[in-house]
Symmetry: C2
Subunit: 336 residues, 2 copies
Amino acid sequence: MAVVVPFESPRPAGLNRLVDLVAADMERVNATILARTGSEVTMIPEVANHLIASGGKRLRPMLTLAMAKLAGYSGDGHIKLAAAVEFMHTATLLHDDVVDESDMRRGKLAARMVWGNEASVLVGDFLLGQAFKMMVEVGNLHALDILSSAAAVIAEGEVMQLGTANNTATNEDEYLAVIRAKTAELFAAACEVGPALANKEKAEQAACRSFGMNLGIAFQLVDDALDYGGKSAKLGKNVGDDFREGKITLPVVLSFRRGTESERAFWNRTLVEGKVEDGDLDAAMAMMAKHHAIEDTLGRARHYGAIAKDALALAPDSPIKQALEEAVDFSIARAH
Amino acid sequence: MAVVVPFESPRPAGLNRLVDLVAADMERVNATILARTGSEVTMIPEVANHLIASGGKRLRPMLTLAMAKLAGYSGDGHIKLAAAVEFMHTATLLHDDVVDESDMRRGKLAARMVWGNEASVLVGDFLLGQAFKMMVEVGNLHALDILSSAAAVIAEGEVMQLGTANNTATNEDEYLAVIRAKTAELFAAACEVGPALANKEKAEQAACRSFGMNLGIAFQLVDDALDYGGKSAKLGKNVGDDFREGKITLPVVLSFRRGTESERAFWNRTLVEGKVEDGDLDAAMAMMAKHHAIEDTLGRARHYGAIAKDALALAPDSPIKQALEEAVDFSIARAH
């Protein structure tokens, strides 16, 4: 279906510019991904490609490619590092679905529903192993340090999330610590390895890392808002998934804290005790509207988006810089 | 309880010599392990130490230390690499217990029974991430290559095992391919990084790798024999675990292939259909005795043990070489 955008629209240009600018490199990344999921153990490419081929935006590897370009890197290492970043992300998704007992992922049955939890855990491990192999092949110790540290932080964030799951006492800072670790850290690492490969100065690497970190936080905040409807339907994931899984995201944190006694009893019944009845999702969304929880979650996202853009401010103007700024706008505009 | 060994016994000296020779280094490895399981997310040290502190022999990190010594390595890198090897092993155990739905590990409740499958998957990921961080800190690209390749092969072997699980048609070669990948590869990598750190010649690295690979195969074969009683009780694991989980190990492969029609029906009922009745384990062990399946499994183990020892034959005689040879004898003698 075509989407008609009136030409005077203030809508951001979306991801088009970024997609176009890294298209040639991305083709090589895709070929690498395909080659590196190959195995004589046929279940490995089956499970891996079920998820990898199912239409993720590949935003994270695009960021690695874009940052390498921004840094003027002229080698080949960014291709394998971008593929490694996507493998790390895919491994996390496979393990997440097992941990969350999710049925669906990107609008398809989750891999664990087709091949079982066993295969999801082990193919995730395989992809992590392949990711590290590719990083080692690139041979840049600084990039290795960035990505291996990220792997540990991401796992730490996932464990941390177990502690906040179904816990309505979670506050905004605790929520933020979780999404920094489990989502934003990979965005940050994906961005930082570009200038690291190009041996750029520390300040420049820190700027790229900050861009990724804040974009990642904004991205996750918008994701969490979209799970309660945002202002439009969300592709590939169903409204209410987080609610049914008892996930404590910022819209819930804000609604719980701003709610009445009886509203807090509602959140405890549905998210802590897991007793969800017909109409509860609508009731939850009504409370969020009453307390401006979605609105304020998106406001927080805009805050981090602005930090991301300012992080790149010292870089000279260029098409790739413009494309990265537009990627921030796109990540936030998904909610409208 | 003290074990009384008559002094004229032909029993191998066991692991004592190896343990003594690497004791000083091992203390540093243990301190590193403790420091690296630390996290503000309290569940991480809890889960990690539940398993790490529960009395594994730490044979794999001992091999890394011993091979570094054999190679005359004088740096510090072997400490972190040995800790990384133990973390990779522990991560595999955590994930294995989830995949196998095991209740017990090393004579204690499996971590997943105490903290849940979620924590076992995610703390495993955390340990893998920490393992890679430590390797990167050592900064030797060759060692990184060896260990990251091993991580991918191990995961591949685990997925391969999903295909042989509950499949009585598995033959000895297929079984061997699985244990090479899932067990012996880490032994091989643990041994190979020692001479790699010391920049030894290719032939010497290959010899150490071959020692580890064949010791690992022998070790797993004996483990699989012990699960059906071997000739004595096995520490920390219960006789019959593999049987109850429907695992296809060499004792089963041999018994199935050498069995009568009605015996094969027995194996298919118990291992494929999972219908296990009282007395079935005894019946299984009786069939194994009839077909010399345990005896021949241990014979295969001695075969690989001999290859392991010959792999080290060109190394000049030294206490550490003797200790490594005794480790092979020990691994096999566990069955007697």
